[in-house]
Structure formats: C-alpha cells, structure tokens
Symmetry: C2
DNA sequence: CACCTGTCTTGACGTCCGTCGAATCAAACA
DNA sequence: TGTTTGATTCGACGGACGTCAAGACAGGTG
C-alpha cells in the first residue's frame, strides 16, 4: 500500500507507525527511538536542514536538483550525497522526469517528529 | 581553566532566537539552520533521544543520573558523555545537589524545533 | 582523617560523516 | 551515432562520533 515504483533509491523505512505521544509526556521506548533518531540525525546538518526546507516549501510540492545545487557553496556530488541521506531517512522522495530529478517531501515522518517534540500547552 | 568550582558545564548556545516559521512554509535561512541543526543532531542518537525523553517527562521536572544510567546497557562514562552532548546542545540543564546530579529539560529550544517541524493543518 | 559511592574527564580505539575529484549513468540533441 | 548536460556513484581524505577502561573529582559516612 505504500509500495510505489521506485524511481531512485528503494528506501522504505518503517515510517508508518501510528506514532507517539510527546517526548515530554512519557519515555519514548527504545524501538521508537531507533526508528526516529535517524530522521533527527538526517536533519542534524545545516545543509540538509536547508535542503529539507527548500524541498518542503517548494511551490507545487516539488523542486529540481538543479535549483537546489546552486543555492550552496558545495559541489554537485556533495549535494547529491546529502539528498541521498534525506531519502534514506524517509524524509523526501525523488523522481526523474526527463533530464531533471525532482524532490518532494514526505509529510508522514515529519509529522511524527513534530508530534514527538510537541509540548503540551502547559496543562492537561 | 579546566579547574573550576562550576558544578557542570556553563554552556549557553544562542537559544533565544524569536524563532522560525515552519520548515514547510519558507526556506530556513542559513543562520537559523546553523543554530538549530546541532540540536537535531543531538537528538539524532537513539540513546540521547531516550535520555531526552526521560528527562523531559520526569516527575518534578528533573531526574537523577543514577536513575538514567541503569536504564541502558552502557557504561557510566558513556551516558555521561551523551548527557554532556545534550547539555552543550542547550537541550538540558544539570545541577549537582549533594552526591547526585539532576538533569532537567530546557523547553525553549525544544519549542523552536517543534515550531520548525510543525505542519500546517492540511489546509492551504 | 580514611574510605566509599556517584559522576565526570581523559585517552584511546574503531567507525561513521562531510567533502571533493574523477568516473559513470541517463536523457536530450546535433 | 557521438556529444553535451544533469545527476549519481565511487574512491579517498581528514575530522568527528560512540564506546570503553582507567583515572580524577565531589561529597557523604565511618
């Protein structure tokens, strides 16, 4: 049901867990930590955080690598490497159309991270 | 200057920025990414994510290291090292009272991370 | 005071990460 | 077909990370 034709990396981490009460409510179990920590790790680099943001905020929901690369002072291979990291973390998805490759965000995992970090409004 | 009476590290990153529209709304600037990426990085390890959760969800708002260490299959120094990482990221704070050291969460930075990851409620 | 318990620091080890240049692959075009 | 352009993969390098054992420090107890 979550299996599509894989355009690039066939990554598919267990990103469909029902997900998690906030970090601040009860201790996150080891299995949940094992699943979500890699996503935080992927966001733990300034370049990838900006890439993630550019992809997630792109008009039309997608953006071309050719628009991502010139935004940084890094070589193409390095940007490609960071994009692969985001892909393998389950945060983005890539599709090649003709000459160009387009990236789009995967909201599911982002939502899980946001839910985990959510802070209850001071009172319950 | 390594010899001090300061109970623990006096770390103090720039954690008081007014903070950020969601990742998905507009591109996060490089300066913001540089400030927040290290916090995500600190949460990007399963042990630290659990530690953070245990601290943030502790009753009374604080928890003793002596209650954290036995929860993992790791040596004391390793746990101490992870706690230092969380401290230097500005996510937690430590205080020594008598024999024991107590850790408590710093909600400010957590709130910034949550705000950055927030997803607008599906409507455009 | 000496001793013990709890915690942090130091030094070391192997592994992973960020970056680059060079090579490779994919699609469009002459 | 061969060439050009866009993107990824490969191989390598220096630096950072996760872990541990051993040592140092702080504070309570005899």
């Amino acid at each position: 049901m979550s299996k599509q034709s894989t355009p690039l990396a066939p990554v598919d981490p267990a990103v469909d867990a029902p997900c998690c009460p906030p970090l601040t409510e009860r201790r996150v179990p080891a299995e949940t930590a094992a699943v979500l920590a890699p996503a935080f790790k992927a966001l733990g680099d300034p370049v990838r955080l900006q890439l993630m943001s550019m992809i997630a905020s792109a008009e039309g929901g997608e953006i071309c690598v050719c628009d991502l690369t010139p935004a940084f002072d890094l070589t193409g291979p390095t940007i490609s490497h960071h994009l692969k990291t985001l892909r393998e973390a389950g945060l983005v998805d890539a599709e090649r159309r003709g000459t160009w490759v387009y990236y789009r965000a995967r909201p599911a995992l982002l939502r899980q991270l946001a839910a985990l970090l959510a802070i209850e409004p001071t009172q319950s």
